[in-house]
């Protein structure tokens, strides 16, 4: 089964919730994942952030849903790492 292990998203979000609350809210929905957020640009009402989520199984639809509920929107998926587990062993 293909699993996302790392994803980098470019996200536009309002100033509130701030970076700490935003990251905490996402992290609460994704147990076992490590979330990193970097603010890259600030506007009058919005800010652009780069969000990195890493873990054994990163659920992208869930991240997307949480970001939307917090008023943010995903602009682009900048990096993805997936893992398909160990190769199947051929039976002899």
């Amino acid at each position: 089964m293909v699993r996302i292990t790392r994803i980098v998203l470019d996200v536009l979000k309002p100033h509130n919730p701030n970076a700490l609350d935003f990251t905490t809210a996402i992290s609460e929905q994704l147990p076992g994942c490590r979330i990193k957020l970097t603010v890259t640009a600030m506007d009058e009402k919005t800010e652009t952030v780069v969000l990195v989520a890493e873990g054994a199984h990163v659920l992208f639809p869930l991240i997307s849903e949480v970001i939307s509920s917090l008023g943010g929107s995903i602009h682009s998926i900048d990096e993805v790492e997936v893992d398909n587990g160990p190769p199947d062993v051929e039976p002899h």
Binding site: L12, N16, P17, K45, T46, S69, L70, G71
Partner: protein, 191 residues
């Protein structure tokens, strides 16, 4: 409840609710003080008349607070949401901001209406308890007046806590306003 507090926090509406509580609470307390002093200088006014008039004013202040705050805050929150939607170039109706725009005007209106009503009812307590408490029975208007001063002082202390200034100084400042109001009523009353 937790969700509501979170919405208040992300939209910074807790500051608005706090301001409404103090402003309208102070309004209620000072209105009751004015009414009580007005009845005191009128002399020979029966206690039920005082109680009913003050209660009527307290309820009117509450209703006025709820309706005025709801109308103005609903318009403000909708405007904020539209501005943010323009900046985000997306529909935020289902987001926390959309929820906040629908829910928070009601919360703020409730705070704005309940603050003067509850504070007024606290000030009127000595009038209601007059038949059963001897001190209040002998000096009902004076007791309610003292309660009004205490409430106004405590609102000042709360303001001092918010502005992180010395609590006694902040409380005394609001007491000066109460004293000035009382003095003006005494000076201007024709009786």
């Amino acid at each position: 409840m937790e969700q509501l507090l979170w919405l208040l926090n992300i939209t910074r509406s807790h500051v608005i609710a706090r301001r409404y509580f103090v402003v309208n609470g102070f309004d209620g307390a000072l209105t009751m003080l004015g009414l009580l002093v007005g009845f005191y200088v009128s002399e020979n006014v029966r206690l039920p008349v005082v109680t009913n008039a003050c209660l009527g004013v307290a309820i009117a202040l509450g209703m006025s607070g709820v309706s005025s705050a709801y109308i103005s805050e609903a318009a403000e929150k909708q405007r904020e949401l539209r501005e943010l939607e323009r900046a985000m170039v997306s529909d935020l109706g289902q987001s926390a901001y959309g929820q906040a725009a629908r829910l928070l005007p009601m919360v703020i209106a409730f705070v704005n209406g309940m603050a003067p009503l509850i504070i007024s009812l606290i000030i009127l307590l000595p009038l209601w308890l007059a038949p059963s408490v001897e001190l209040f029975n002998h000096f009902p208007l004076e007791s309610a007046f003292a309660m009004a001063l205490l409430t106004i002082f405590l609102l000042g202390v709360y303001l001092g806590h918010i502005s992180q200034t010395f609590w006694l100084w902040a409380g005394l400042q609001t007491l000066v306003i109460a004293a000035a109001t009382t003095g003006l009523i005494f000076i201007l009353s024709p009786g």
